[in-house]
């Protein structure tokens, strides 16, 4: 049994320690908001927060996590940055198919946590690991700036 702390709750899962967190979240804990896009850390669809930092869960073995705090898209709205990002995403109607957007929102919320007022270069650096096949990048950039501006 592996003990995990997911969105503030203790979970124990009977899986191999090398199993990536992505599949534990989706297929064992049924937290399907975190998405599978590539499986090789190329797309960012699977981004979650570990102790507030963005991590590609498709490359993260659950056995190594211990008691670190795992936050997923289902609960990111309970953090101030997450809530601001979600609101900006809707206000600027960023989303198209939405499949990449869990990962985009997680990356953007992490960016605002570390850089409250990011410039374009900060946004490029933080967001270029997240692919959006629908091409919502222009609006993601604008929405991050909007979310930052709403930070008092």
């Amino acid at each position: 049994m592996i003990e995990l702390r997911v969105n503030g709750e203790a979970k124990s899962v009977d899986v191999a320690p090398d199993m990536p967190l992505l599949w534990v979240l989706r297929d064992v804990l049924h937290l399907t908001g975190t998405k599978f896009g590539c499986g090789i850390a190329q797309c960012g669809a699977c981004t979650v927060h570990i102790d507030g930092k963005p991590v590609r869960s498709c490359q993260l073995a659950v056995g190594a996590l211990g008691n670190r705090a795992i936050t997923t898209i289902e609960k990111i709205g309970e953090t101030p940055a997450g809530a601001r990002v979600q609101k900006a995403w809707l206000d600027l109607e960023v989303i198209q198919c939405g499949y990449c957007q869990s990962g985009q929102i997680m990356s953007a919320a992490a960016l605002l946590n570390s850089v409250p007022h990011p410039d374009d270069a900060d946004i490029d650096a933080a967001m270029s690991g997240n692919i959006c096949r629908c091409g919502t990048y222009v609006r993601i950039r604008a929405a991050i700036k909007r979310a930052a501006a709403e930070h008092a």
């Binding site: 998405k35 599978f36 896009g37 198919c97 499949y99 609006r139």
Partner: protein, 712 residues
């Protein structure tokens, strides 16, 4: 037989069904036990006043659930916050796309095809509600009006909510000829209303096909023959069976699958299998063979798609300019990998998927499971991108074949590698263009021959007529320029070793790329500015000319740029929209292309939701620029060489420039929009590079070695 209405309810109550609510609304307590009113296949009203709209087109990001709802709600005068939407079931009787005769979402025609049927459905429903209220009040219906889900009788100051009319209206006949609104009365259409599907996409609660979790579901990863048409020769599953969580190995004729407790077990099990294949007839096919055959085919006379005047005579003598243009095989790579969950029982089957072709999915599952179509229930979901890939039901067919071997439901998920290597690819095309210019720079003769797959011959056979694929020549047969002598031909040549299908932008992508590249070269030969040259040939297409003028002004066409930077223009009439686009790009010494800015002027007639139109242009342009900069599928020894996003690259945040969409508003019928940006992007970028470097690229994707170091 499943009744359409019954199956609609099944979908609503079924697992994975998604219902969106437009706004927060606390319904009044309605009369208990009153049956819903169902005046047609799109609208259902309950006694509490909730209006549930069944979506005949699927939501894959293009915003159609919101736009379709806006059209219905407009004519119905529904209160927007009483509106809920639900996915349609497979049902070609009620939900076939009028443009295809098939239940399909594609060709950017959701709004074009459903504009009148939806308005009529809304207006007819409104008329019944008015009649029901008028009878109750014993007043003439003509004295009543509607607003905000209420019928109002101004003379007596009475009003009644739609929900309270349901009991009486449900039994009354629905007129088919109820008057439609004058567009001047539109209250919803033309406004950038918030999308209905996006709130659930911000907090992980949206349910895509890949998220379906029927009770007891197992997970499967599959490997299809790496060579199209190959067969399994031998499988050693000893190592796979030892992996924790692996439950079953399924070996079929042409694929193997590992079923497990979760996707990780299934994937690991698949990797641990030792599979030998008989590659079959396509074992030696390479991309070089595909191109050689296509180029050879292009030497044949094609089937004639269009003639005007006498192109042969006009091109018969003098200085004829001829060039060829080529575009490669492309994968779709929707962000949500292909998947389908299927439960096959002896007496029926159930499937969970996000598909552009629901009825075809139903038939595919029935066929694979050996069941009659009526016994197969299909639950549609939000699509994590479609781009044409989900116009094919193959993922449902293979999932059902696997599920037939499995006890209980099984979710079959394609890895990204499987998705890229077993796509139904955008065909490669080879275009041959010839033209002659008069001394004053007018096109006096034109010939365009397109050679490539006929997707329609397979996908919608009646649409392949007399050797001409209407999609294959879309944008070519209807070239927007004034040309007195013109001939357009189509040569059908199917590539060996790969399947081909629709890809965002479809036929116009290839034709507009070839035509707009060629036009730029003609302008250069005539020593006329590319905008001026186009403008001079757009007399019969004033809407396009107006878009061109607008984009030229907005993009500062003609103003100075730094060295190695250039602007490219492209115009198109495609999907019944008139669009002119300017891309500004810079080419560095190494041949890398830097996108500086994009302007596009769009006349798509009546606009339902302007913000959605802008979003589709932005996204469509990026989709096409991705292909222009990186997209090419290649084949060696029958095997597709690319596999994931490291070698099938995507444009990313740091490469995307500002994109300015300039909407032209008018009252023309609505055009299509979802694919237009993709079509525009490739020639506009190509022409920007031409302007920046003087190098006339004639193939996609962009070959950096040809433009490295070049300068105009």
């Amino acid at each position: 037989m499943l009744d359409a209405r019954t199956s609609r309810r099944t979908v609503l109550g079924g697992l994975g069904a998604t219902v969106f609510v437009a706004g927060f609304h606390v319904p009044r307590a309605g009369a208990a036990g009153v049956a819903d009113m169902e005046p047609n296949a799109f609208i259902r009203i309950d006694a509490q006043g909730f209006i549930t709209l069944t979506m005949p087109q699927v939501e894959m990001g293009q915003g159609t659930y919101t736009s379709i709802s806006m059209i219905l709600a407009e004519e119905l005068d529904a209160a927007w916050d009483h509106v809920k939407v639900e996915h349609a079931p497979p049902d070609e009787t009620h939900y076939a796309n009028p443009a295809f005769g098939v239940q399909a979402t594609g060709n950017s025609n959701s709004i074009r095809a459903f504009w009148l049927p939806l308005r009529k459905a809304g207006a007819g429903t409104r008329a019944v509600l008015v009649e029901a209220a008028a009878r109750g009040w014993k007043v003439p219906a003509a004295e009543c009006r509607t607003e905000n889900s209420q019928v109002v009788h101004d003379k007596s100051g009475r009003r009644v909510a739609y929900g309270d009319l349901v009991a009486r209206a449900a039994a009354m006949p629905v007129p088919t000829d109820a008057p439609l609104k004058d567009p001047k009365q539109f209250k919803l259409i033309g406004r950038s209303l918030r999308r209905l599907d996006t709130p659930v996409k911000t907090d992980g609660t949206a349910v895509y096909g890949i998220d379906a979790l029927p009770p007891g579901v197992k997970f499967a990863a599959l490997m299809q023959s790496p060579v199209l048409g190959g067969k399994v020769a031998h499988v050693d599953d000893a190592a796979a069976k030892k992996i924790k969580g692996v439950r079953q190995i399924v070996v079929l004729d042409d694929l193997v699958a590992v079923v497990g407790d979760h996707m990780w077990a299934a994937k690991s099990g698949l990797e641990a299998l030792d599979v030998a294949w008989n590659d079959g007839a396509n074992a030696e096919i390479s991309t070089a063979d595909i191109w050689a055959r296509l180029r050879k085919a292009s030497e044949r006379d094609g089937a004639v798609a269009k003639t005007v005047g006498d192109a042969r005579k006009a091109l018969g003598e003098g200085d004829v300019y001829t060039q060829t243009y080529e575009v490669p095989l492309l994968a779709h790579a929707p962000m949500e990998p292909l998947n389908c969950t299927v439960h096959v029982r002896p007496d029926g089957a159930e499937a969970w998927i996000g598909s552009q072709v629901l009825a075809r999915v139903q038939r595919a599952v029935a066929k694979a499971a050996g069941l009659s179509v009526e016994t197969v229930v299909v639950h549609n979901h939000l699509l994590g991108g479609g781009f044409g890939r989900r116009l094919e039901p193959d993922m449902a067919f293979v999932a059902a074949r696997i599920a037939k071997q499995v006890d209980g439901p099984v979710k079959v998920v394609w890895t990204r590698e499987e998705d890229i290597r077993h796509d139904v690819y955008r065909p490669a095309y080879h275009d041959l263009l010839s033209a002659k210019l008069s001394r004053d720079g007018r096109i006096v003769g034109w010939k365009h021959k397109t050679a490539g797959s006929s997707i329609l011959a397979r996908w919608l056979p009646p649409a392949f007529r007399n050797g001409v694929d209407g999609d294959g020549v879309d944008g070519a047969a209807d070239v927007p320029y004034d040309i007195d002598n013109l001939r357009v031909e189509f040569v059908r040549e199917e590539p060996p070793g790969v399947n081909t299908g629709f890809w965002r932008g479809v036929g116009p992508n290839n034709n507009v790329f070839a035509i707009e590249s060629f036009i730029d070269e003609l302008a250069h030969r005539a020593r006329i500015d590319p905008v001026a040259f186009r403008r001079a040939h757009l007399g019969k297409t004033p809407r396009l000319k107006a878009a061109l003028d607008l984009v030229a002004a907005k993009s500062n066409w003609g103003s100075a740029l730094p060295p190695r930077a250039g602007r490219g223009v492209a115009v198109q009439v495609a999907f019944a929209s008139f669009i002119a686009t300017v891309i500004e790009a810079e080419v560095d010494e190494a041949g890398e292309v830097l996108l500086r800015r994009i302007d596009t002027a769009v006349d798509t007639g009546t606009i339902v939701n302007p913000d959605t139109v802008m979003a589709q242009l932005q996204g469509g342009l990026i989709f096409g620029l991705t292909a222009a900069l990186y997209g090419e599928i290649t084949v060696e020894k029958g095997r597709v060489q690319q596999s994931n996003f490291h070698d099938y690259r995507m444009l990313r945040m740091d490469q995307v420039p500002p994109i300015n969409v300039h909407l032209i508003r008018n009252g023309e019928p609505p055009g299509g929009i979802g694919e237009t940006g993709t079509t525009a992007s490739m020639p506009a970028l190509r022409n920007a590079i031409y302007a920046a470097t003087g190098v006339a690229l004639r193939r996609m994707p962009i070959d950096r070695t040809l433009i490295a170091g070049a300068r105009r």
